[in-house]
């Protein structure tokens, strides 16, 4: 195994690099088209740096008309188009296509308008996620989805991946917080999807566009919903002497009718890594810790914190701490938010997995990951969005040790299969991209994949948009001999082979 084969059967290009660049320059200024090797190098990977590819050219349009031009040129020349936001994606969704144009939206970074009364903002795709909340804070409003990379990631990328974040159990994913999109097709046509009201005429095309990983079109303008900023947030840190107990505590909190603003879990390996890095003050003897946040009015928070603490205590927490002020709340969160870089300091490389499981399967899946960790001989700290069952096991390895990256890839694939067996999914928020393309064959049956391809054909019949990503061809699944594991069933029971 190793790098997944990128190429999908896309049509033969009708123009070479020089010709494509010449045509791009007919509609874009010189500084918006990159084609020299040293200019292309920075675009060779996104946040999943284990996979690299140099694109044919990079186009960096400054407005929608230029985006349309790029699409028309590529459509006519039959050249693949790979859209790219801030390049922070973790699944290789923006990995270039060697015969394709990388369409970077980073120059389109204006907040076009804010309507504080209607509680909406109209932004360009290159705007950073956090910049929206910063710009709207003066009105007491914010944009709710907050992926951990929010200081850097772009809203356009969030649309492509349907990004979540720490607060999405209570406030929803990207798909729940967007009203309207301007969406450019591969033919260069502009579609307006959604509307300024809460729904639109016809079918819900926004549901398809959001999370489509750049396979259906490119977004040039986004109208997001803004929410009133909660007056107060406080977080409870609870320690547990076993992962099972921590998992049960999560179920108990929710069964008690509480929807925490955030509910995160970290295991001992993860807290250990984090403490060396940021000193968040986590108890190091605990097998697992939970961070349970409440937000709202001061009255609401006081009532909810008391209720949460009661449930956590009854669930066997060995220690409970409540953030006494905003500084301490941020300190508690700093550990969780820096978990990835902290692990990155312990080992040269890591893969961050992204499976989601029903919460009741937590104990079983974690035991499974532990067993796999022994089997493959690689350490694997766990951090997860416990409230919504989204796991982020971090497989630690050293790519300079021959063979270790391949072992890590196999280990990751096994974890994802474990998630599917448990009735879950291979990706909760990072997207399939190139990284999990083979596991799609495990999660979906051929007829389901065919349906995805049918949808794709309605948008992009020549399959020029981000080919080789997100949805595998049936041929690919057959060749890799992948077997579909039906949700909730044990492996090898009644498996169709193809």
């Amino acid at each position: 195994m190793g790098k997944p084969e990128l190429l999908d059967p896309t049509p033969e290009a009708l123009a070479d690099r020089d010709e494509v660049v010449r045509r791009l320059l007919a509609g874009l200024p010189r500084h918006c088209v990159l084609a020299a090797p040293e200019e292309l190098k920075p675009y060779e990977c996104d946040g999943l740096s284990a996979y690299r590819e140099v694109p044919l050219a990079v186009a960096l349009p400054e407005n929608e008309a230029q985006v349309r031009h790029v699409m028309r040129v590529c459509n006519e020349a039959r050249v693949p188009v790979v859209a790219r936001g801030a390049g922070t994606g973790l699944s290789g969704g923006a990995l270039p296509h060697p015969r394709g144009v990388t369409l970077g939206l980073s120059k389109m970074k204006s907040i076009l308008s804010i309507d504080p009364v209607a509680r909406t903002a109209v932004v360009q795709p290159g705007v950073r996620n956090l910049a929206i909340s910063e710009a709207t804070a003066q009105y007491g409003l914010y944009y709710a989805p907050d992926p951990s990379s929010q200081i850097a990631c772009s809203i356009g990328g969030n649309i492509a991946e349907n990004s979540g974040g720490v607060h999405c159990l209570k406030y929803g994913l990207t798909v729940h917080n967007v009203l309207k999109l301007r969406f450019v097709t591969i033919e260069g046509e502009v579609l307006e999807l959604g509307g300024e009201g809460l729904d639109a005429a016809g079918l819900d095309l926004m549901a398809l566009a959001i999370g489509s990983e750049g396979l259906l079109g490119v977004v040039t303008e986004i109208t997001v919903k803004l929410l009133p900023k909660p007056q107060l947030a406080r977080v409870v840190l609870a320690a547990f002497d076993s992962l099972e107990k921590a998992g049960e505590a999560v179920a108990n909190v929710i069964a008690a009718g509480i929807i925490p603003a955030g509910l995160e879990m970290m295991d001992k390996l993860a807290t250990g890594a984090v403490e060396q890095f940021v000193r968040a003050g986590y108890p190091l003897d605990a097998e697992a810790i939970l961070l349970c946040e409440s937000d709202g009015t001061p009255e609401e928070v006081a009532e909810e914190i008391e209720h949460m603490s009661e449930v956590l205590r009854a669930s066997g927490a060995t220690e409970i701490r409540l953030s006494k002020d905003e500084a301490e709340r941020l300190k508690f969160w700093s550990g969780r938010k820096s978990a990835f870089p902290a692990v990155g300091r312990l080992m040269p490389d890591y893969f961050c997995m992204d499976g989601t499981i029903p919460k009741r399967q937590l104990g079983k899946v974690l035991r499974g990951i532990e067993a796999l960790s022994k089997e493959f001989g690689l350490q694997c700290p766990n951090v997860f969005h416990a409230g919504d069952g989204n796991l982020h096991p971090l497989i630690m390895f050293d790519a300079n040790v021959p063979g270790q990256q391949d072992i890590a890839v196999r280990f990751g694939a096994k974890i994802l299969e474990l998630c599917v067996e448990a009735g879950g999914t291979i990706t909760g928020e990072h997207g399939v991209g190139i990284e999990k393309i083979d596991q799609m064959c495990v999660q979906f049956r051929p007829a389901e994949l065919e349906t995805f391809h049918a949808v794709k054909s309605a948008f992009d019949p020549m399959r020029l948009l981000n080919p080789g990503k997100a949805v595998p061809t049936l041929q690919r699944c057959a060749e890799m001999g992948a077997m579909h594991v039906h949700r909730g069933q044990e492996k090898f029971a009644h498996l169709p082979r193809f």
């Binding site: 009364v117 009105y139 409003l141 349907n162 979540g164 999405c168 502009v190 579609l191 509307g195 300024e196 009201g197 809460l198 005429a201 016809g202 079918l203 819900d204 549901a207 398809l208 959001i210 259906l216 009133p228 179920a251 929710i254 069964a255 009718g257 709202g296 009015t297 009255e299 609401e300 006081a302 009532e303 989601t356 029903p358 009741r360 409230g387 919504d388 069952g389 989204n390 009735g423 879950g424 999914t425 291979i426 990706t427 909760g428 928020e429 990072h430 399939v432 799609m440 999660q443 049956r445 007829a447 389901e448 349906t451 995805f452 949808v455 054909s457 309605a458 997100a470 949805v471 949700r487």
Partner: protein, 346 residues
């Protein structure tokens, strides 16, 4: 029963016939055209899986909405999109296939927002699953949410996994006398503040505001907002949700305008406003004025009940219409699941 449905679909495809998927039939009044032989899903009922601590219920599409809601209420939970019951026969499949949401929509989200997964039979009778039973799932295109609101024109929904939420601990309704412009201003202003607003409605010169959540939060909001506390509040919100309120009963034709919440009062006659101003019901209007008013307020208008339905549908921009037609062709090339229910042109 899935096999019977699949056979019916395959036979219809072979004979070139059209099927009209129908749960309880409570929304037969809606849509441009009812075409084809009824495929009745109401026999395919029952809760498949429900674990309150997961906040997920998996249920067969023919299950009566009342049964779903009763089961949830027993565990202190609810369908937060507050789907309308247009009669006792309403099913959960119909609630999602219509995509209709009730008074809580602006605060909590729409029917589609709460869909986590769907098991469907496609136009060739294949049994397919999209999405899942988990809150976060970005594997593949989001077809389970896409199917919500498609009125059975893309696939037959056989099973749904829905996100459910705890019922609020406390709920109080406030009522204020004011005119329409003042009400639109107040709804938007309050929606922009950290208040536990769960529904708003302006009708007959009164603004109704429902507050739901933690007791302390509701009490604090009551103190802050003032107003009177009407005795018949629960009945009022139910009559709004199910459209049994006199405003709806008296309307010969009923237009639904989904627009920018801050849009100034529309010059279209008698109205009822919901969703903090984003939903305006109009008792009588001509198509041209309704569509024009909606469009200039960033939204669309639909003739919901009565009148000439085809003319009541807002036309789509040509490239958007073409995409709808291509998607319909891609998923149901023969038109087994009928055409024209939600739009005269696909």
């Amino acid at each position: 029963m899935i096999d019977t449905f699949a056979d019916t679909i395959r036979r219809a495809a072979a004979d070139g016939k059209t099927l009209r998927i129908r749960g309880g039939g409570s929304k037969d009044f809606y849509g441009v055209a009812l075409e084809g032989d009824v495929l009745d899903t109401s026999g395919y009922a029952g809760v498949v899986d429900y674990e309150p601590s997961e906040l997920v219920m998996t249920v067969r599409s023919g299950t009566p909405l009342t049964e779903v809601e009763t089961k949830l209420a027993e565990c202190g939970q609810m369908l937060a999109f507050e789907p309308p019951h247009f009669g006792a026969s309403s099913t959960i499949g119909g609630a999602v296939a219509s995509g209709f949401s009730g008074p809580r929509r602006a605060a909590a989200g729409s029917a589609r927002d709460f869909v986590l997964g769907a098991r469907v039979l496609d136009a060739t009778g294949r049994d397919l699953s999209f999405g899942g039973q988990v809150m976060k799932n970005v594997a593949g295109y989001d077809l389970s949410r896409f199917i919500a609101g498609s009125f059975g024109t893309l696939a037959l929904i056989t099973e749904l996994s829905l996100k459910v939420l705890p019922r609020p601990v406390a709920e109080t309704t406030l009522r204020f006398e004011m005119n329409e412009a003042q009400a639109i201003e107040a709804m938007n202003r309050w929606a922009g503040q950290p208040l536990p607003l769960s529904a708003t409605c302006f009708v007959d010169g009164k603004l109704w505001v429902r507050l739901s959540g933690a007791k302390a939060a509701v009490d604090a909001a009551v103190k802050k907002l003032g107003g009177e506390q009407p005795a018949d509040a629960i009945a009022f919100w139910t009559s709004l949700r199910d459209q049994t309120h006199p405003f709806f009963a008296d309307a010969a034709t009923l237009w639904r305008l989904s627009i920018r919440s801050t849009a100034q009062p529309l010059q279209l006659g008698s109205q009822l406003i919901e969703w903090n101003g984003a939903l305006r019901w109009v008792a009588a209007a001509d198509a041209e004025s309704a569509h024009g008013a909606a469009q200039s307020a960033g939204g669309h208008a639909t003739l919901y009940r009565g009148g000439a339905k085809a003319a009541g549908i807002q036309r789509l921009a040509p490239p958007v219409l073409a995409l709808h037609q291509r998607l319909k062709r891609a998923l149901d090339p023969q038109g087994v699941f009928g055409r024209h229910r939600i739009h005269p042109e696909f």
